[in-house]
Symmetry: D3
Subunit: 239 residues, 6 copies
């Protein structure tokens, strides 16, 4: 247990401390849900729109769908990142992240209330300082709640579509120390990078763990998971 | 002259009145210039970054370059717009607009101070309510000033690179009335749509006028141009 | 007024003189309209075809549509230009030009006679020596007249679909001289490049003016516009 | 031998008669070779340009290269054909044809005189009425001769680079009749479609024979080949 | 006739000898036809699947269609070949080959038994040592037979859909020697490269002959064709 | 512990039983490593090639790189899957999987022995019945060993580049039962789908867990992880 307790992070946080959270709801008004979320220096605009139609594979089942897209604005990083529309395609990392966001949020809602409609989430990173995929999930969750509320005003939803509150956070190992909610500098030097999506009941939704540089044992895994749980419950307290 | 004076606009503005202007400088900190500009309900994030290298056609001339990219975030409009990176290419309107932004800003600066570097501008529309291309130019102009200031701190620029202050505004004819700074509703019903880029000396940089629905005569053109001049000088007063 | 009168152009033309015009109607016979137009050394093949269907955004309105495509053949310029189908997309300039051609021609015709059909214009530049976009509009206008005539023979059009005769011309400022109908050499050295589409009544349809190198004042604008009008009325006299 | 002699073709030609040939040399002047060739109603503009550089696979061998591109203009056929640059790629037929043109012409010239330069051929079909790939080869051959002549004036070529005069023609079987130089109507109903490239010595360069509908025996093959030879020698007589 | 008889091939085969043939039928079980064919060191997996739907151009005619796709796995050649899905498109050679395979097999079957269904053939080269396109045709022919047999069990086909047994083989001229069934080394040094598809009755289906390096006369053509016939009949004996 | 013990799987396996493993080493000979691996009905061809050059981001560091590509052959599944080269891009799932394979294998080897070379892995699924990404990793690991052995023969490697033996396996929850090494039928009905890459020392390399349908608690996670360890150690025993 003593493993990670003595660490002093360059940013001044303790090993188990998340960055300051700021949530601006209804940030823009052309989308049904619109949340500007900042956690530390990472800023993401999450919008949610309910649009007509569902993908072919669930047509005729009269249950809705939810899908997400993700992007980093070119000026969001220290060295300008190429605009994917100019490159001509989304890169593999982008696609991986937006699938991750979509799967996570589909687990949080019972979409049958939607009929043949789809919730389309857009997460656009205005500034990136680590944790963009997790922060996107947390912000998008709130944007979906806003969109559902708009839908409810218009059509009245019979049953509560919220299965569980969810949030996401990263945890990693840097110089052998386990750290919660890594910023960019920590993330780019970590040995293990884990992204966890959990519900308010402490159940797992997604675990994505990579350790290209150094493998790790079960004891460290358990520590990381409990640290993640602490962070996620804290995030959910902002809802 | 009486032609357009009696009009009452649904938004409450007079025919020659621009919308409220809000300029947040240094909005994000990973870009050298970063401006969040709102004019009415249109919100654009304009970033400017000075990056190494110049296009092939000016290589070896030791003068810099400036280029711009433009995008509308999917949630920026009333009905979600497709993400161009998913479609696989920028559409023709997008490309036309970013060329327009780039040409306009290149006229405002003497780029020889840059050496073999390029100023890369990114204009991302967070919310669209008419005039996005003109507002992008106005916001990007300020972002470039910020980036030049950063560059000056680092390398010291000998000569003032600013040729002229510039700004851009739209003017149009709606139901036979000439209107300054059209919002989305006015723009989508107009007979003539004109975008004008001018310098603080009242000189022309760009004129783009389209009138698919109804042609117009020289007298109306003159009225539109003088209305645009009024708006542009007002915008420049915010610098 | 004396501003531009003393200029001697390398090509021997006076400042307000357009190049020789040659119009070969019915140049090929697989298209309903087919015009080979040469103005000076610029040669464009303009074809017009009436095809079934209209774009989604006007479906159900029972009014036709008109759209244009533009291309420069690889061998049309001094140094071979890349074939866009090999590159994999039309470049931004091409797309800008074809939108310009389409908008201009839609203003010239009342397309309601077409029913659910579309006039598709193709402008392919066989040889380029300046002014290709304007010459495309002028040639395409005649090709559309041919296609309408074919349609009229087949189905009988009740009302005259021609709103106004239109033509297009460039005017620019080179070494401080205002010149009508610039060739390639003049165009590539000009300070101001303006393309104007006008009707036979002298009304404006499109104005596209760029001045990356040097801004200009209202007096010069007025001179350019009146020069353009002279050229356009001369072109329309060939119809 | 009597097999194909009694046929009366709808176009009035005998089974072994090629269509009228018209060759306009130096058709445009921005390319070093430029030939407008019409055979019957098929019209192809063939240009040849000598450009710097060679493909990677022959770099350092100090021998030149020759490559070809082919395209059908959208208005060249009875029902407008999609522009490949809009579709986003050249279709398989186009690519097959331009490889066919390139291979054929490389066999006709000893390209070592070129140094590290490449002859780029462009064949753009202005009007299509059958035989476009063969007519492209014949026209391009003459355009290359023009380009070589231009090159010779500039640099003086020591050895004659022409290996053999070549030309190409189609021959097919329609309703069991062997026909030379099929037009579009014949081609779209044929059982066997063969394209042959030959030299003036009667040697074979390319044979491409397809018979999706009906196979054929050696005797018919021999008849087709001798018919092709007759046509090709006639074409070469125009050089 | 003595022309090619004395040749000793590095691989030990005589000029008219094909490589060892190995055909593994029903190689995988998720496709209706699945054949792993090896001829010498060339190994191709050919699968055939009958899928719903036909291309637009034969819709409503109630006759089926057959189409083929071809690919070389990246590790199939001596120097790794780029994966076409990563490049973003099939190259011209690939498209040419798969059109060749499709045309050849459509000639072998009367597809009217299929109704509105399509036989989709996939030829994936696991190891390439010359002759991949011909070996693909031969293997695919057997895979189609398997798929038809599956279809027959399910729906009962009234008439025999096999028009003729077909197979394909290459023949070429290397150092003036005519050789049957060239391997990669022979193929990459050949003066003439010919691919021939024939039926068991000795009729021609496809002839594709290229001779970029050296033209050839009718006598050699006849020798090559008779050599090909010998090889094809031998291949068909394996069915 | 009793949670998952009573389950009877339709395939006859017990909950903790992996499918039969078959490894054909040196399956083809044009690649330096080539392994055909079958686990149950899933068959993957894994090749490894050492090619010149490294990606830009590690240039100049004189350490090698390893990267992987993955594909499912069109006929590998029950209903034919579209060929990605025809679609024009790799889909998101494919890209996610090949990144997963690449990261996993980079953790297993110290690539500094490679100099400025890259190991390129290709995993092509000939038949898919669940677990393709994990089986690809296991097969590719052996193919890399083969390629390293080839490299060693040629250049002599000073230090052993193998950090740890690794293998990968899936584990999931189906109808509340935890199952090792799911086949396609199990996988498509599972509530939780987890892919785990581990080393022979039982350390974690990658954990990817999704549970779109039903979240799960820590106790189940622990059971899944220990089941995975059992399977992975068994797979490694085949090396």
């Amino acid at each position: 247990m003593g493993l990670y307790m003595s660490i002093v992070r360059p940013c001044g946080r303790s090993f188990d401390e998340i960055r300051p959270v700021k949530i601006d709801r209804h940030f823009t008004n052309n989308s049904q849900g619109s949340v500007l979320i900042s956690i530390g220096n990472t800023i993401v605009l999450c919008t949610a729109n309910i649009v007509e139609g569902v993908p072919d594979f669930i047509k005729g089942q009269r249950k809705g769908w939810l899908t997400a897209e993700y992007s980093m604005l070119p000026g969001s990083t220290n060295s300008r990142v190429s605009r994917e529309s100019v490159v001509g395609k989304q890169n593999a990392r982008t696609q991986e992240i937006q699938r991750f966001i979509g799967r996570s949020l589909r687990s949080a809602f019972d979409l049958s209330f939607l009929g043949d409609n789809t919730i389309r989430i857009d997460c656009d990173v205005l500034q990136a300082d680590g944790g963009t995929r997790c922060i996107s999930i947390t912000g998008a969750y709130i944007a979906v709640i806003e969109a559902i509320s708009w839908f409810n005003k218009k059509y009245t939803i019979i049953n509560n579509p919220i299965v569980e509150n969810i949030a996401a956070i990263s945890v990693g190992i840097v110089d052998n120390n386990i750290l919660l909610d890594m910023n960019y500098e920590e993330d780019s030097n970590c040995e293990v990078d884990m992204n966890i999506v959990m519900s308010n009941s402490g159940n797992f939704i997604e675990i994505q763990s990579s350790s290209e540089k150094k493998t790790f044992d079960k004891r460290k895994l358990d520590l990381m998971l409990s640290l993640a749980e602490k962070g996620i419950l804290e995030l959910i307290s902002y809802y």
